[in-house]
Amino acid sequence: MNNTLLSVCIALLFAIGTFMILRRDMIKVVIGITVLSHATNLLIVSTGAFLGGRAPIITSDDAGSPSGIIFTDDLASGILAPVIPEGTEMVFVDPLVQALTLTAIVISLAITAFLLILCYRIYQEHGTTDVSEIRRLKG
């Protein structure tokens, strides 16, 4: 359903991010983590999207059209919710993955900020951003 180009792009971002976190320079590693989190966000959102799907915002046109989806379990008659009746068409792209990603974007900001300050403090203490050098200085 998705275009292949997007998948290739995501995969390339993963590869580049991986390459970056293997570096010895702390700042580069943080940049790599950022690239990786971009790639992951894109991946998750792209799984919910499909061709012709609408943004998950309900307009007045959609109001009052029951879809017939069953949401409560009825184990006695063997119904495990949700049950989607035949012919129900997906109108909107998946809102859930978007909500997840929104949270992820904000949290990755917090983590990146923290990492950066950590790098800054390490540089202050040790005078270098080389991971292996810092390890040697520790002892």
Partner: protein, 789 residues
């Protein structure tokens, strides 16, 4: 008050009182011991309330829901067996706490001591009254932990730390085996409730016929043996003698070491009547009885002698509980239960006497003692009564249960036939002979003979009444149970045995019952015991010589090798597994991702690359994606921080455009805002960090990293291509719920917003907490610098 409440209160009262003990200590100061004594007394009364109903065959039962989703409830079950243990634990508890008032110096940390004693008593009571086996396990491990704290009470003595660690390692790891056994039992029966199993005959039959029967039995027995110092696990008990003597009297004679015996008795109805039960339980018991009895000879520490004697006495009970055949599942049950009660009385008494002696002579070495009968005649009489009871001399209670031990051994041997008909009674007599010898040693070595004054203080005298009354009380019990066994038998032993055999039990115990074979065996025991005692020192010397010549021939040697070797071994292991630099960990993680992600994907996907690839995209999309890749490459290639940061924020802004055509306007907006903030923070930080370091990529490093990253990229690509090709999901998506309900339930038209602030509001709260924590972390990191300056 109904009986269930009484039992529950009896269990939790010691914990509650331990909790408020520090406050009470402020008022009571040095008399805090009496507070603990009163607590034990209250618990005893509460347990005793249940005695009349249990004697009439009505068990106490009840439960309170605890973790209903897992089928775990807090439930208590009081039958004869539990009540007997409850009486022993709280009853001996009273004496121990009273005795401690004098024994423990006022300079000691009394608050800690009594708190731990009370918590131990509560755990022990909780253990014996637990009906739910998970709850039983929790209390079981609590007794291990409190015992660890009590043994290691003198924290600055290396030997007491060693003993405490040893006991914890052995009993607690035994407990893990036991838990595994319980879980197997749960797989078979589907319940965690012991009372349910005991009251359901068909369930017991199912267990006995189940293929996991032996598995469950062995696991549970390992736990019981570790706790009761049976078989190879005995080694912790002698070292536990480093504990203050009242603790030894309480934990290591009367209560904690009997937990394993209790467990064996508790599961007796479920497992007995099978060959496996007899071989494992009786086999373990008989071997331990003989080995520990023999090893007691070379002990010179008076508490050491008592420790080995406890091991061998517990082994008597194991052996007797193990006597079983299909027709007669509980041959030795009544005898074992009776011996259990008797042992609690005379052994606790012996420990208390040993405490008095050590207190007065300032040593525990029996070779330095002798002739103390003149200095402390009352202690001498009390100690002799208890030791003779252990030796099995009439008319004391030990004689009665020893006779019953011989009788049940004879019966078991007779039922089995063959050589075992003679071997089992012979082993029993040999065990009795050893017991007789070390019991006499205890009296003779301490009290009789000549006084070796060069080692002893000049003025020794009887202790005060506070220390004398508890052992005296026990000695009186020893005599009374011996002379009038019917009272104890009716009110305690018969209900307890009924709780094990699940039917009414009537016993006739009397001092004189004619010239039976058992009596002959007792007489043989006495004669052989006296004969053996004349060779006592020779045997002890031989044992010492063997020990010096073959030091590796001992379980302690193996234990020390393992425990002392552990730090070195784990350091070597850590050196391999955790070399230090971050890179190897990352490589390991990525490889794990490749293995765990790629292999299942290969298995599921029919082809690596699906046939119908969709390259048909509008040109602006293609350009956008191309720019993203270009910018990302820039982050990797550009050397300067500033350039790389600009490249990475370019990636972020471009992605927000992609979000727009993926129909995610909220994300696009958030991404733009976040990206702006991110760029500012990044620039601020690199302003402060001048770029001094340049990594020189050697060819091999570059090749390896490129290999790893392209492997990751390819795996992601394959996963993605196949995922979007519709590997059928096993469940319907829950997204429909949000789509359908965001207007009717939340009155919101933007579904993403509704999910974040309404349906999953708590998740957003969590997100805010993460932001706050990160902010606090950043603040503190910066502040820590300015503080140190």
């Amino acid at each position: 008050m109904d009986l269930f409440t009484a039992i529950t209160l009896a269990v939790f009262l010691p914990f509650i009182m331990a909790g408020i003990l520090p406050a009470a200590e402020k008022v009571l100061k040095n008399r805090i011991g009496w507070y603990a004594t009163a607590t034990a007394f209250l618990s005893l009364l509460l347990v005793a309330l249940a005695v009349p109903s249990v004697v009439n065959g009505e068990n106490v039962q009840g439960s309170v829901a605890w973790l209903p989703s897992l089928g775990i409830e807090m439930s208590f079950y009081g039958d004869g067996l539990s009540i007997m243990f409850g009486l022993i634990v709280s009853g001996i508890g009273i004496l121990i706490m009273a005795y401690s008032n004098e024994y423990m110096s006022k300079r000691e940390d009394l608050s800690r001591y009594y708190r731990q004693l009370l918590m131990f008593m509560g755990s022990m009571l909780g253990m014996v009254f637990s009906s739910n086996i998970i709850q039983l396990f929790i209390f079981w491990e609590l007794t291990s932990i409190t015992s660890f704290m009590l043994i290691g009470y003198w924290r600055n003595r290396p030997m007491s730390v060693y003993g405490a660690t040893k006991s914890l390692l052995i009993t607690a790891s035994g407990g893990i085996f036991m838990l595994a056994g319980f879980l197997v039992l749960n797989i078979i029966t589907g319940t965690f409730d012991i009372a349910t199993v005991l009251q359901n005959e068909s369930m017991i039959e199912t267990i006995k016929g189940h293929e996991f029967f032996l598995f469950a039995l062995v696991l549970i027995l390992i736990g019981a043996a570790a706790k009761s110092a049976q078989g190879p696990f005995y080694i912790w008990l002698p070292n536990a003698m480093e504990a203050p003597t009242p603790v030894s009297a309480f934990l290591h004679s009367a209560t904690m070491v009997k937990a394993g015996i209790y467990l064996v008795a508790r599961i007796h109805p479920i497992f007995s009547g099978t060959d496996a039960w007899f071989i494992l339980v009786s086999g373990l018991g008989i071997i331990t009885m003989l080995a520990a009895g023999f090893l007691a000879f070379r002990q010179t520490d008076i508490k050491g002698i008592l420790a080995y004697s406890t091991i061998s006495q517990l082994a008597y009970m194991m052996a007797m509980y193990g006597y079983t055949t299909y027709q007669y599942p509980g041959i030795g049950v009544a005898a074992a239960t009776f011996h259990l009660l008797n042992h609690a009385t005379f052994k606790a008494c012996l420990f208390l006497v040993a405490g008095i002696v050590a207190h007065e002579t300032a040593t525990r070495d029996i070779t330095k003692m002798g002739g103390l009968r003149k200095d402390m005649p009352v202690t001498f009489i009390i100690g002799s009564i208890a030791a003779l009871a252990m030796a099995g001399v009439p008319p004391l209670n030990g004689f009665l249960s020893k006779e019953m031990f011989y009788e049940s051994s004879l019966e078991m041997g007779h039922l089995l036939g063959g050589p075992l008909e003679y071997l089992i009674p012979a082993a029993a007599v040999l065990g009795g002979v050893f017991t007789f010898a070390y019991s006499i040693r205890f009296i003779d070595g301490i009290f009789l003979g000549k006084r070796r004054s060069e080692h002893l203080p000049k003025h020794m005298h009887e202790p005060s009444l506070i220390m004398l009354v508890p052992p005296a009380f026990l000695a009186v019990l020893v005599i009374l149970i011996g002379l009038f066994p019917s009272v104890a038998v009716h009110y305690i032993i018969e209900p307890a045995a009924a709780g094990i055999l699940l039917q009414e039990v009537h016993l006739h115990v009397s001092l004189w019952h004619g010239f039976t074979t058992a009596l002959m065996m007792t007489i043989i025991t006495f004669i052989a015991g006296i004969a053996l005692y004349t060779k006592y020192d020779t045997i002890a010397a031989w044992q010492d010589r063997m020990n010096a010549r073959y030091p590796w021939f001992s379980i302690n040697y193996a234990y020390d090798r393992i425990v002392n070797g552990a730090p070195g071994k784990s350091a070597a292991f850590a050196a391999v597994m955790q070399p230090g630099p971050v890179k190897p960990y990352l490589v390991a993680l990525l490889l794990l991702f490749l293995v765990l992600g790629a292999i299942p994907a290969m298995l599921v996907a029919t082809t690596l690359v699906p046939a119908d690839l969709n390259f048909n995209v509008p040109p602006y999309e293609g350009i956008l994606l191309g720019l993203i890749v270009l910018a990302a490459l820039g982050t990797a290639i550009l050397r300067k921080y500033l350039h790389a940061v600009i490249a990475v924020s370019a990636v972020g802004y471009l992605i927000s455009l992609v979000f727009i055509y993926l129909q995610a306007p909220d994300l696009a907006m958030t991404q733009i805002l976040v990206e702006t903030l991110f760029t500012i923070i990044f620039l601020l930080v690199i302003l402060k960090i001048p770029q001094t370091f340049r990594e020189n990529l050697t060819r091999s490093v570059l090749a390896r990293d490129l290999l790893i990253s392209s492997a990751v990229g390819i795996t992601v690509l394959v996963l993605l291509l196949n995922a979007t090709q519709g590997i059928a999901s096993p469940f319907e998506s829950i997204s429909y719920y949000f789509i359908e309900n965001s207007v009717p339930l939340a009155r919101g038209h933007n579904m993403v917003n509704v999910i974040l602030v309404d349906f999953r509001g708590y998740d957003t709260l969590g997100e805010i907490v993460v932001l706050c924590l990160a902010g606090l972390g950043v603040y503190n990191l910066i502040k820590s610098r300015s503080d140190s300056k």
